[in-house]
Symmetry: C2
Subunit: 214 residues, 2 copies
DNA sequence: CCAACAATGTGATAACTGTCACACAATCGT
DNA sequence: ACGATTGTGTGACAGTTATCACATTGTTGG
């Protein structure tokens, strides 16, 4: 795969994720080929935007025809790096952590949760699946290191997020997805992304308020 | 509150949410005043960016001093429209829906979940809290209308998201927060925001892959 | 009262992102 | 064989967002 440039807009990556998700839901048998027009309608993105997004990474379509559905899906998965399974762990098996642990979608789309941690003695040892049982927080460093876990998902209360992040990093984690409503500090070598559900709701509230005030 | 302009960057709103969240966590007693420098360090935003963000809405600080912590928090809540409680409902009381229903944080920060819906006969009728028990999907229109619910949070499987959205809209909903991995179609008058956890993970995978390939 | 200082608010500028039009390549029908 | 048609790929342009420098304004200590 060629990357013409390394200055890809973040929004482009987000859209690629949408495209690949939609392509995966398509019956490839009935739709062997798809145009940017049709794809755009489903993803609510302009056709030109789709072509532009793809053009950052190469030429995947056939002029006058469109894109081979299956091939395009594979190409985007390759671009995003979800054509293999990233070993992943969840720390904090509360309400949200359990939802993520039981979310099968991940398994088929590039992520494999292979460990779970909690600090609650009442939870430690509980089986989640055949291969996962809840480990104590103190084991994070060792386990991440031994199992070569790449991605850590933090779903502990905010007060513990930094501590957990530090442990993950000590164990050699590569990337962190943080659900706690706090900005954890990590060295530049670690990729960090935050999911802020609260901020999405706040945004909704703002737009509703705007509409009312206008 | 004055709004100088109605072209506020979406990123600004997202950051305001971060600021207000951080300010809420501060002990206002020990920190009656805060500078853009300090706030920026905690929120990982440049001081200039913070001042710019706030300047879209007015002048809230005192030159040479900084911002009154409590007052700034109140001002941002006012800007975002989270200085009162939005009546909210969750549709799809599965793993994720339950996590959201039990997330107390919302209650103290501008959102009050006052109804929950599911289509599973085994779940209907179950009590969530004193005031909420799970209602059947067929009641969405009526309940949203009667209780004047403003915001609907969709946590059903993707295949049902559009149906649920249509019912919410028929009931007079104002805004929708959608967790299902599909783009639901809504009229322009409805505010729609999507939370895509998968896309955040994809983004993480992309960045990790980039790092590896570089 | 004034000078030294601290931190805000903002216009100018740079960087980034999205839109659009159209050249170009492949296919299809005659 | 070739013109008509379809839909991609991309350069030029427009719009948006972030960064920076500094003028401005309030505070504090002598
Ligand atoms: N529930 C939601 O809908 C929601 C939404 C947005 C953000 N969040 C955030 O996600 C995080 C988890 O939320 P939740 O609702 O699942 O809370 P929860 O209380 O249900 O779960 C937290 C879990 O973390 C465990 N834990 C505490 N300290 C720990 C530590 N040091 N190491 C490992 N595990 C530890 C607890 O034992 C518990 O099982 C919080 O930071 C919350 O703000 C939750
Ligand atoms: N669990 C996660 O971590 C996670 C992460 C990202 C996105 N999501 C998305 O959130 C949604 C819910 O995920 P989940 O893990 O909670 O699934 P789940 O299967 O645990 O829950 C889905 C719930 O929706 C109910 N439901 C089904 N059809 C309905 C209808 N027509 N009306 C009302 N309720 C209906 C089901 O009875 C069930 O209780 C899915 O779209 C999923 O893709 C989940």
């Amino acid at each position: 795969m060629k990357t013409k440039d390394n200055k890809i807009p973040e929004a482009t990556i987000k859209r690629l994720s949408t495209y690949v998700n939609y392509l995966g839901r398509l019956g490839t048998d009935s739709n062997p080929v798809i145009s940017s027009e049709i794809l755009g309608e489903s993803c609510q993105v302009s056709p030109a935007q789709i072509r532009k997004d793809l053009s950052y990474f190469g030429e995947f379509g056939v002029r006058g025809v469109g894109y081979d559905t299956k091939k395009l899906e594979a190409e985007i998965k390759d671009i995003l790096g979800i054509n293999h399974s990233w070993p992943t762990t969840v720390i904090g098996v509360g309400k949200l952590g359990q939802a993520l642990l039981n979310f099968d979608f991940f398994r088929n789309h590039g992520f494999r949760i292979i460990a779970a941690f909690d600090s609650d003695p009442g939870k430690i040892g509980a089986r989640i699946t055949d291969e996962i049982s809840i480990l104590p927080t103190g084991d994070i460093e060792k386990t991440v290191n031994e199992k070569q876990i790449s991605i850590g998902i933090i779903t502990t209360p905010a007060d513990w997020a930094q501590d957990v992040a530090d442990r993950l990093i000590a164990g050699g984690i590569k990337g962190i997805l943080n659900f706690a409503p706090i900005k954890v500090k990590v060295p530049d070598s670690i990729i960090l992304r935050n999911v802020s559900i609260t901020s999405e709701l706040d945004n909704l509230a703002y737009l509703l308020t705007q509409k009312k005030r206008q």
